[in-house]
């Protein structure tokens, strides 16, 4: 139900009333008093220590508002609403009372009066414009009627950031509304305790067939493609011209796990942080010595393939600015430790977005350690003008048979190779993979290659 302007205590602006002490124009958005919620432990008051927002700021549900302290506990208060902050009731060092207003916020997204309840966005304006007799009586199935899931802009943002299709998420909020916890649970980030109230309310249908119309609650966000992302578009469009074939295999990391553990002290002494990647990179480089046609680049006219002498192995890195693929030069001449040092340097540089042009150019073979995030087998895309790439899955422990036929927990990583089928054949890729596998599964064979 819409409040009249007079009820809100505002005077309507007229052309003549140019000077008015009331700052706000005619607004149909309600201002809600957000109370300081119960902190528990029978605490009645807390001290406000820091504000993260100020009057006029726009906040979203779950944004941090302020820090309060009660004796030994430091508590972060988050917003229950999306909206604009109109008033803060306390300053820093003031004592705030639980259950009393903390701030006034002009709530967005609902043109009707919002009640101070657990779920603030109860009311959705019915399509016909007639107020329904009982606000709560809505058709719950309408939540997914036109295929659009019911969710606040903040929840939509979380979904977009995590590439989640909201229509696939089960909403546990009122009327099947998708809450932020639902999205997070969907991604697998949290496990929820069973909901204390029932999800869907069966209600008497009132004018049921059409149900409430669902308006777009947020705005489409146009994200310009800049920087690394532009380069991605160019490279990947080129890559599409390459006929890819894939070859996958599982490699046993038992020996490498043991070896890495043994080398811990030595690595510490040399101030080197040793992961599995340097071993994998070196094993690939040793493999490329035998199969140089995989460490090659094609020219634009496909007249020649150049087998490169130097193994400049590219590593895909996830930076704040997006995917970037620097390479470690001359892996064929570097020891495992030296490769580890280079890898660390590139990791640090990528975190600060300080990868140099030299680091980015001249790559001859690529690896993607997507397993650091997750996954088993993958389908990597070749970086032209290279001819091959490998994606490495996560290290898993799975039951396998040992040489005596007994089941034991084996450390395994899955490798997914892709290669340019115009210049590389399956047999070459398979043999290369087998060689890399041999080095990885029996690291002592790498010893034999030492100069």
């Amino acid at each position: 139900m819409l409040r009249s302007i007079a009820a809100l205590g505002l005077k309507p602006l007229s052309a003549q009333a140019s000077r008015t002490l009331i700052v706000s124009a005619v607004r149909w958005l309600p201002v809600v008093q957000f109370n300081l919620s119960d902190i528990g432990e029978g605490i009645a008051e807390v001290q406000v220590k820091e504000w993260h927002v100020k009057v006029g700021d726009r906040v979203s549900q779950f944004d941090n508002l302020c820090e309060v302290q009660s004796d030994k506990a430091s508590v972060t208060i988050t917003s229950r609403y999306d909206g604009v902050i109109k008033k803060l009731h306390y300053g820093v060092d003031d004592v705030a009372r639980v259950g009393k207003p903390l701030m006034d916020i002009e709530v967005e997204g609902a043109a009707e009066e919002v009640k101070q309840k657990e779920d603030p966005l109860d009311a959705v304006k019915p399509k016909s414009g007639k107020p329904t007799g009982d606000k709560e009586a809505k058709s719950t199935s309408a939540a997914h009627d036109n295929g659009k899931a019911l969710a606040t802009p903040a929840v939509r943002r979380v979904a977009i950031e995590n590439s989640v299709d909201l229509s696939k998420v089960t909403g546990t909020g009122k009327d099947g509304r998708v809450l932020k916890e639902d999205v997070l649970e969907f991604i697998g980030h949290i496990k929820r305790a069973p909901a204390s109230h029932s999800n869907k309310r069966s209600s008497p249908s009132v004018g049921q067939s059409s149900g409430p119309a669902l308006k777009q609650l947020g705005e489409d966000q146009v994200v310009p493609i800049r920087g690394y992302a532009r380069a991605m578009i160019k490279t990947m469009t080129e890559a599409l011209k390459i006929p890819h074939f894939g070859y996958n295999d599982e490699m046993n990391f038992d020996e490498l796990v043991r070896l890495r553990h043994e080398l811990k002290e030595f690595a510490k002494e040399k101030h080197i942080k040793l992961s599995y990647m340097p071993f994998i990179i070196k094993a690939c480089s040793l493999g490329l010595v035998e199969f140089p046609s995989l460490n090659a680049v094609t020219d634009a006219s496909m007249e020649n393939v150049t087998w490169k002498a130097s193994h400049n192995i590219c590593l895909a890195m996830d930076t704040p600015g997006g995917l970037v693929v620097p390479n470690i030069k001359h892996c064929e001449q570097r020891s495992v430790f030296e490769i580890a040092q280079e890898l660390n340097r590139l990791h640090e540089a990528s975190k600060r977005q300080q990868i140099s042009r030299d680091d980015l150019s001249g790559g001859t073979f690529s690896l993607s350690n997507i397993g650091a995030i997750g996954g088993t087998y993958a389908s990597p895309v070749i970086l032209p003008p290279q001819v091959a790439i490998g994606a490495i899955g996560k290290l898993e422990k799975l039951p396998r048979f040992d040489k005596n036929g007994n089941i034991y927990p084996a450390h395994l990583m899955k490798f997914s190779w892709s290669a340019d089928h115009r210049v590389v054949d399956g047999a070459t890729m398979a043999r290369f993979s087998n060689r890399v596998k041999q080095y990885i599964e029996n690291p002592s064979t790498m010893l034999t290659q030492l100069r």
């Binding site: 528990g40 820091e50 004796d71 506990a73 060092d93 980030h189």
Partner: protein, 299 residues
């Protein structure tokens, strides 16, 4: 004494191998924020460090210059409470739970019970959430609550370098600083440690006792030993929190505004001073000595 909420389903124990306070605080904050395990217990120890509470003033609570001179780490944690000094003779214990189940009294009673049953040492918990041994304080508590999650962490001193603690937790500027920042409460009868009662007790032995008791409170409780230093490389989310924690603007810049010797300091930098050249510079106690020399020269 078994813990009051026995029979709760599952929890997970994390034991950190890192001795680096920043790495450990980052890991704790990461577990807290990502919340994959509703109930968890985290145990760790660090090489010597001074840790202040979220809203405290480093220069009021501790001897910042001496800390730097001795190469002792200085950290600000996310939880409230007062300033502590700890080294490898201390065990840090962190109870991570959903907000509704946050109960410091219960956690402290659990520790007192476990230590009495398994080590024969009689401790007592107080209403200020301290743990005392024969009236001396052997543990300090702090807590953090946000977005439906919480943690309660505490120190538990087995043995400690009392000289370092006394020197580093006393600030020469204590009387001169005016502020509303949270002040630490000095232990009334002084500080003690568990070795006062049992000279042969070690941190590993204490840890063992607590873990055995903790496991009894849950039907399922797995233990994970975590190489947190390594995690900083492999997990960008943990590394991000770590980088936040070592940053000057967090450790010193987050200080609530204060006045000292005619200077006004906000966010760790000089906001007002009789010497305008100092404006905007980071606050350092050394500046006060220069100021004194300047005023002496003026005479």
């Amino acid at each position: 004494m078994s813990c009051a909420a026995a029979g709760r389903a599952t929890s997970r124990i994390f034991i950190s191998h890192s001795k680096n306070i920043f790495a450990n605080l980052a890991f704790e904050e990461f577990l807290f924020r990502t919340g994959r395990h509703p109930h968890a217990l985290l145990l760790w120890s660090n090489r010597p460090c001074v840790v202040i509470g979220r809203h405290q003033n480093p220069w009021l609570e501790s001897h910042v210059e001496e800390i730097e001179r001795r190469g002792v780490d200085f950290a600000r944690r996310h939880s409230g409470g007062g300033t502590v000094y700890h080294d490898l003779g201390n065990l840090n214990i962190s109870f991570l739970t959903p907000h509704e189940e946050h109960c410091r009294t219960r956690n402290l009673k659990f520790i007192v019970g476990a230590v009495a049953d398994r080590l024969g040492i009689q401790l007592e918990s107080t209403s200020r959430d301290d743990i005392l041994l024969n009236g001396k304080k052997v543990s300090g508590t702090a807590a953090r609550i946000s977005k439906g999650r919480s943690y309660h962490h505490l120190t538990l001193l087995v043995d400690t370098d009392r000289e370092a603690m006394h020197t580093l937790l006393h600030s020469p500027l204590e009387e001169s600083i005016t502020t509303n920042a949270t002040r630490s409460t000095r232990a009334m009868a002084g500080v003690g440690c568990l070795r006062d009662s049992q000279p042969l007790l070690t941190v590993p032995r204490l840890q063992e006792a607590l873990l055995a008791a903790y496991r009894k409170c849950f039907t399922e409780c797995e233990t994970e030993e975590v190489d947190v230093d390594n995690l900083l490389i492999e997990a960008p989310e943990v590394a991000a929190v770590h980088d936040e924690l070592i940053d000057w603007s967090w450790r010193f810049g987050k200080t609530p505004k204060f006045q000292v010797a005619g200077l006004s300091v906000e966010n760790g930098c000089i906001a007002d001073s009789p010497d305008k050249a100092q404006l905007g510079h980071r606050f350092q106690p050394a500046l006060l000595r220069k100021g004194m020399e300047a005023s002496r020269a003026a005479i």
